[in-house]
């Protein structure tokens, strides 16, 4: 008989390690998605996933049963990912010979795409890549809010709880992130490529 999530959590609290695997199976894609979007790197995302599930396993007894488990996992993942990126960036700053990230140039990208790929289907493929790249180019704070709100569908209150900030801050970050994205995506927005 398949155990419910609540039962799995209760069993894990009691020290039943077999309850961990179904929980990992259920949340691994969500955790990966978040970790990957925040860290922008497969290897780093895997590290974040490891830390996230280890933390879930070790801290399951501190999980308040009246809260949503999913939100709790979100919180752990986001915090782990943000901390990971901050540590990584500090390390990179200390390294003199750091490969600079390619500056995202929307206009150049748009022109190149139009010139090289005249077909609509190919254009849409490029557009996907372009939009994804634009989101990636956002600052860490703005990117996190956009990911949680627009792609994960969390409310302002949930995001505020996860990021430990006020709802107003979340709204503000979302607003500026969208403005930045509008600027980045301006060629496509103006061209009506939707």
């Amino acid at each position: 008989m398949e155990r419910t999530e609540a039962l799995l959590i209760a069993d894990l609290c009691e020290g039943d390690e077999t309850a961990l695997a179904p929980l990992i199976e259920k949340y691994k894609r969500m955790v990966y998605r978040l970790a990957m979007q925040i860290t922008k790197n497969h290897a780093d995302a895997e590290d974040v996933m490891q830390e996230t599930f280890l933390k879930v396993y070790r801290s399951i007894r501190t999980f308040r049963k009246d809260a949503a488990f999913e939100t709790w996992v979100y919180r752990i993942t986001v915090n782990e990912a943000l901390n990971y990126v901050k540590r990584r960036d500090r390390r990179q700053e200390r390294t003199i010979e750091t490969t600079a990230e390619t500056e995202f140039e929307p206009e150049a990208h748009y022109r190149a795409t139009r010139a090289s790929d005249p077909h609509v289907h190919a254009e849409k493929t490029e557009l996907r890549r372009y939009v994804t790249q634009a989101v990636k180019s956002l600052s860490l704070k703005h990117r996190t809010v956009v990911i949680l709100h627009d792609f994960e569908g969390l409310t302002h209150a949930e995001i505020a709880s996860i990021l430990n900030c006020s709802e107003g801050t979340v709204r503000s970050r979302l607003h500026y992130a969208r403005k930045k994205l509008r600027t980045l995506l301006k060629p496509y927005v103006d061209a009506g490529a939707i």
């Binding site: 609290c13 007894r61 627009d150």
Partner: protein, 331 residues
């Protein structure tokens, strides 16, 4: 850009998400109807959101990636299991605390069905702490007010001692009525007629020992172990002290009720009857339990402490009285 436009544009993101209040939504809509710049901004923002919604590609990993991840994670868990002692203790502590708080909460919920009192979960530890501190503060005051016994002990202490004695006593259960019960009552001269006291005094020829039981009542229950014998086990309250004569011999006192063989069968000593050499109650000593070994032990000890049994027989009637008759016994 006017102040109104700035204010509107700050709200545009929430306007697109429709997460503003009704009034704010109406205000922004009204402004957008009259301001081309803001309307253009709103349309662009909406198109941007649409682009994100339709063209953003969420990352996805292959099954091999997840398989590798799961394997690595399992290895890490095995290498560093979260079952170290401190983690176990912490976990148990957290679990117990949680269970306690949950019980308290359930109890409060049950007691207050109308929820006139709402207890916030976060506050429960503080409530529990406050209740503990209050108990510690109030308990000494309550105990001070409790009536004290003759020995200066609290009634609570007496109750505790009685309960402990009943629970842990190895003698016959309380509910079991003893066949023979002897009671040594400490000096009751004030309650006894002077004439009886004088008669008793005259009938005694040997020296009367000092019996200080430390309690008003020594009660003995019987415990038959062999033919012709009833070895009576002392049911002793934990706060009682043994008679000094008994203490001279052993701290573990058993009582032995005895009728001499020449006593008439069916004739039992009665309450306040003067005990003579022919019919007497004998209190005996320690270590006698049951079985053949006990019998031998009893005989040995009886010979060894004959003087003591004699002394006990010389206890004045006011001190030794029989409250219940015992079964016919042959020695």
């Amino acid at each position: 850009m006017s102040l109104k436009c700035q204010k509107t544009q700050r709200l545009l993101s929430d306007y697109i998400d429709e997460s503003l209040s009704e009034r704010q939504m109406a205000d922004v809509a009204l402004h957008l109807d009259t301001c081309r710049t803001c309307k253009r901004e709103a349309i662009d923002l909406k198109k941007t959101c649409h682009l994100l919604e339709n063209f953003y590609v969420e990352p996805e990993a292959s099954d091999a990636y997840y398989a590798r991840f799961t394997k690595t994670l399992q290895q890490r868990i095995d290498q560093n299991p979260p079952t170290a002692l401190h983690q176990q203790v912490r976990g148990i502590g957290a679990r117990l605390t949680w269970q306690l708080l949950a019980r308290v909460r359930r109890y409060i919920d049950r007691c207050v069905p109308t929820r006139l009192i709402t207890v916030r979960q976060k506050m429960l530890p503080y409530y529990a702490l406050a209740a503990t501190m209050m108990t510690l503060l109030v308990a000494p005051l309550v105990l001070k007010q409790m009536p004290t016994g003759e020995n200066g002990e609290h009634a609570l202490g007496h109750l505790y001692a009685t309960a402990k004695a009943r629970l842990f006593s190895t003698s016959t259960p309380v509910s079991h009525q003893p066949a023979a019960t002897l009671a040594i009552q400490q000096d009751q001269t004030t309650a006894q007629p002077a004439e009886i006291r004088r008669n008793v005094s005259r009938s005694r020829t040997t020296e009367t020992p000092t019996v200080n039981s430390g309690s008003d009542l020594w009660q003995f229950t019987d415990d038959p172990v062999a033919e012709g014998y009833i070895l009576t086990t002392l049911r002793k309250n934990s706060k009682d002290t043994l008679p000094s004569v008994a203490l001279d011999i052993d701290s573990e006192l058993l009582a032995y009720a005895e009728l001499l063989s020449q006593a008439t069968p069916g004739e039992y000593p009665t309450d306040r009857e003067v005990l003579t050499d022919g019919r007497y109650a004998l209190l005996l000593l320690q270590g006698i339990r049951s079985g053949q070994h006990a019998l031998q032990q009893y005989k040995r000890k009886r010979g060894q402490f004959e003087g003591f049994s004699r002394k006990l027989l010389d206890v004045p009637l006011e001190t030794l009285s029989i409250t219940e008759v015992y079964d016919s016994i042959e020695l």
